[in-house]
């Protein structure tokens, strides 16, 4: 890394929609829309010159779009590893940013809610993050950008398959939606498998941050659409919304029950999680996420005082590698000392947190 980590996002060049979010269960959602320019090979099969052309064309077009509120354009090769990872974390991208391809560019809206990738797996990938359960609104903001681009640049489309993408699993609508739901009660009480086994849910995938549905790190369930082809955009959004709504309702009901029962096992887990965060001297992301989840659960149940839900929700991000390094010391990025620094960060932050 011949670089000076921390030079780009500090001070941040875009806002942080994750701050001041007090969501209890449905923490966030992401939407992405994939498109390719007609008559061009997809980016993996384009030579450098053409990729550069695509980038120029897209950047020029995006700059003219009025629905985008202030953008910064960041060519991937100008970004340090820490910044790339920061963006992956911020936009909850499942796949890390691929290694440098010529002409690969990020365009980020000032709001920090929209990221546009040019020349990644497809020519144009629009990503939106939202924290208020307004899937339709977020979809409209992506569709507005997409349609403005389409007015200038025709996208590759077939009547049989719909919009064409390099990965056929994303063709058709090109729309992928992920909803992030925090379900510690369903997991603790064993209702998780029942909640995700419903005959109406065959079009959905249930997974975790790491892709293993049997190990939900931080009790975070990810609900995503299995199909992008053969269904309408509306059907995708409503199936995600229906299912998430039901899971939220079940989680809420269970939390209420737990609260009334004063379950010793739950109190024990919450108390141990506080202990982990207050007394560790080295801690990895995964262990931190699990503990943060239990502390958040404890606050929701009225068992914990000394920290707000907003602050805890932010920790889901701040405990991760690039966010943490940016926050405390960018030089620690990629170094084993980051584990110790993470533990120290939590010790200080959690000092006054205790059971009620």
């Amino acid at each position: 890394m011949a670089e000076n980590p921390g030079s780009f996002v500090s001070p941040p060049v875009f806002d942080h929609p994750w701050e001041k979010n007090a969501n209890a269960i449905w923490l966030a959602s992401t939407l992405s829309l994939h498109r390719n320019i007609d008559k061009f090979n997809f980016p993996q099969r384009l030579d450098n010159e053409k990729r550069r052309l695509v980038a120029e064309l897209m950047e020029g077009t995006l700059k003219q779009i009025t629905s985008l509120d202030g953008v910064c354009i960041l060519p991937l090769d100008a970004l340090h590893s820490i910044d790339r990872e920061f963006l992956t974390e911020h936009f909850l991208m499942f796949e890390p940013v691929r290694d440098n391809q010529h002409g690969q560019t990020f365009v980020i809206e000032q709001s920090g809610k929209i990221l546009i990738q040019i020349n990644a797996s497809d020519h144009l990938e629009l990503h939106a993050v939202e924290v208020s359960g307004e899937l339709e609104k977020a979809f409209h903001s992506l569709a507005a950008i997409e349609q403005s681009v389409e007015n200038h640049i025709p996208f590759s489309f077939s009547n049989r398959f719909g919009y064409l993408t390099s990965d056929p699993c994303q063709s058709g609508t090109g729309l992928i939606v992920n909803a992030y739901v925090h379900i510690p009660a369903l997991i603790a009480k064993g209702g998780y498998h029942k909640a995700i086994s419903n005959e109406h849910q065959e079009g959905l995938i249930f997974t975790s941050l790491q892709g293993n549905p049997e190990d939900l790190i931080g009790d975070l369930l990810v609900v995503k659409n299995r199909w992008t082809t053969g269904v309408t955009e509306e059907a995708i959004l409503s199936s995600i919304r229906n299912t998430v709504q039901k899971i939220v309702a079940e989680e809420q009901a269970l939390r209420k029950k737990i609260q009334e029962e004063k379950d010793t096992h739950i109190i024990d887990h919450v108390s141990r999680a506080i202990g982990t965060l207050q007394h560790s001297f080295t801690i990895d992301t995964s262990e931190a996420l699990r503990a943060i989840s239990q502390v958040k659960f404890g606050i929701e149940l009225g068992l914990v005082k000394g920290i707000t839900i907003e602050a805890i929700n932010e920790l889901f991000f701040d405990c991760r590698r690039a966010h943490l390094a940016k926050k405390i010391n960018a030089d620690l990025y990629g170094s084993p000392q980051l584990y110790n620094a993470r533990a120290q960060f939590f010790r200080e932050l959690m000092a006054s947190v205790e059971l009620v």
């Binding site: 489309f157 049989r160 590698r321």
Partner: protein
Amino acid sequence: MEEEQEEKPQGPVLPERPMECSGECRRPIQVIYTEIIGKNISRFAMCDECPVLNRKLHGGGIAAQVTGKAPASLVCGGCGLTLDEVKMGSSLGCPLCYEIFGDEVIHELFQLGRLPSKFVSQRKGELLHAGRSPGHHQEIDPSLKLISLQQALHETLGREDYEQAALLRDQIREIEEKTKGPKEKKNGGESR
């Protein structure tokens, strides 16, 4: 998670977490496959059903790479992608690939469960696409949220969970009032 990478401060920092199959499968990773050809070592993380893995274990892939000769196969005139590569799970290279390998693509989508079951008995050349087409503006019905809340309410009442039903009813009422009166922006994901 990131442990492996964090211990290596030098060199390019690897992605934090290879969560899903690096092929097209998008399933959780079950197999780490290391391939050594001459001095080149490549490592793949794949799901256990990955066509790439299958190919690598049961011949074709390595031999073809060593000799540099792929067996004769259908080739896309637009980008040079071969049918064998498509079967191995390669990304498609250009729009023409969808015409050349259309039936194979549909077969793969079925194998991976990435097409709704209503298409199981589909005829050759049948249109799959149901979403927006170029030039059409799309408006998603803003009452979607209301409909899904009402569905949830219906189910909750079905299992006689009246407390939960009351919570849902409050949320429905809240939305209905908002749409009637002057609008106020609010956190709409869930009731607090």
